[in-house]
Symmetry: C2
Subunit: 320 residues, 2 copies
């Protein structure tokens, strides 16, 4: 069976693993992403991880990599916001030189696209055409798989659903625009919504959970308070689900997808977020389109990146 | 040279023509779309048009058709809103039987997709990958061409950009949702914006242009008043351009297109609408994406449908 050395580079940590072509993880190691030293430090850390995993790099069929930011078809990564000091980096070249592996065996894509490919090849979007992926976490990422291939756009940058506006009266986004979906349906967006609502609810359970520090207010604490029936936490969920539902309806009308897969950390919230969002999406999308699209939760969350990086590499190998 | 009998079915009239594979119109006839009698009356009218055009239907290489509504891959048209009494109709079957032409030589698509193919094959989006088309008229239609093929989605319904929400505080759309782009950047939307603004401007030139009837207020009169420096007309343009710009930015972030082509009747307004919309789009899209996309005006407006229906047929013939 073919094997891929898969790497999921994140802002905080980097996941590495040896993965079979049926999606099984043979070995796995999570390391810290170096806080300084840029791409060279990161590639060095990946090399160490590979040595710890004790497999022969020359024996793998390919190296698959997911990165948290824009990457073009040549494997050049452009200023990933969560990787300090990277700038514009020819990652494929660095990896090729470090491991002595030909560039034609190194496949790199954005983490959002990798997550989409993981679901398409091994997960809950298996074989769907088209399949749209929405990843909810620190940011809101997207990916579209058409006829089994990622829709990359001109430079491989397509799928930035997080930066489509759904509320021009809303908050300013990190990208400079006002009202991007990402200002609401992300970790930070949820915390902000809760904080806004807390101003008018001095009795919320969330105050106690924060233990005097606003930093303790997280999507997880909001979810816990909602489970206990806290009105502000439930209202936060409702606002988040409404925005997610509007995005999903827009995606249905735009792509006429067979399936939309919702993944990422926030998707672990489960039915309290996804079920109302699904209802809003199906109610708001055009009728003849709405009934065509199934909206499902992702199979992979924490390992979506490595599984996807491997899925991408296997798919590319098959096409050669 | 190959030739296609091309048909563009609209709510008011139907355009027919014999078209060469280089996009040249050999002969052309515009007829009224029958107001009653459903698909059978329409197919009869098309047959009459073909006879008036005096060419041998058995000698054409294909029949290409554009319809104003959702159509699936089998050539079944679903309740086109502007074609009364059609319901769900197997148009390919009707055309095949009426003309005695095999179904494999009949190619049907939505008018928005046809317009996109016209620009991709013969117009201002020639060869762009991907190419996104936005058609501004009675409705707001969309089409995406990836690797030379229309992005149809699961059932051929993709590209309904007009029904993506950009203002949840906005007007209710014909589709039932609130704040669709189509509520602003269409014929009706422009008239409504102007009427809202006129409430506070009793001195506007538009009042004189209306000659006592609100029906006389059209996008064209707004444009004329704007050319004469009327503040309300200019403000209407500004609001329309802002909404169009937001849509274009969303499309850049979603598709990373090489080109966006803006067509349809309203695009004839020219620079006063498109130039500010382009600026807003490029300012609002993510930086690394914005600089990749050129936004251009369509080459075809009134004949986009027939040229596109032919372009689609030729492209399909080449793939067989």
């Amino acid at each position: 069976m073919k094997q891929v050395f898969a790497i999921d580079i994140g802002g905080t940590n980097t996941k590495t693993g040896l993965i079979d072509s049926d999606g099984a993880i043979v070995s796995f190691l999570e390391i810290d992403t170096p806080k300084s030293g840029g791409v060279e430090a990161e590639v060095g850390a990946i090399k160490q991880a590979q040595e710890s995993l004790k497999f022969d790099i020359a024996a793998v069929d390919a190296i698959g990599i997911g990165v948290p930011g824009p990457v073009d078809c040549d494997g050049v990564v452009y200023n990933p916001p969560n990787l300090k000091g990277w700038g514009e980096v020819h990652l494929r070249k660095y990896i090729s030189e470090c491991f002595g592996i030909g560039r034609e065996k190194i496949f790199i894509g954005s983490d959002a696209t990798m997550a989409a490919l993981a679901e398409f090849r091994y997960g809950h979007g298996k074989g769907a055409n088209p399949m749209v992926m929405v990843t909810l976490g620190t940011g809101l990422g997207g990916g579209v798989i058409i006829d089994g291939r990622p829709m990359g756009g001109k430079n491989g940058f397509a799928g930035e659903f997080g930066h489509t506006v759904i509320d021009p009266q809303g908050y300013r986004c990190g990208c400079g625009r006002i009202g991007c979906v990402e200002t609401i349906v992300t970790h930070k967006g949820i915390v902000r919504t809760a904080l806004e609502l807390l101003k008018k609810d001095k009795g919320s359970l969330l105050w106690g959970m924060m233990e005097g520090s606003f930093d303790q207010l997280t999507p997880k604490s909001v979810q816990e308070a909602a489970d206990l029936g806290d009105p502000t936490a439930n209202k936060t969920l409702e606002i988040t689900a409404a925005a997610l539902g509007q995005l999903l309806a827009n995606l249905i009308n735009t792509f006429n997808p067979e399936k939309i897969v919702v993944g990422g950390g926030i998707s672990l919230w489960g039915d309290k977020l996804l079920e109302p969002a699904k209802k809003i999406a199906h109610k708001n999308a055009l009728k003849h389109l709405a009934k065509q699209t199934e909206i499902v939760r992702a199979k992979y969350v924490k390992k979506a990146g490595v599984i996807g990086a491997a899925a991408n590499a296997f798919a590319c190998l098959e096409r050669v």
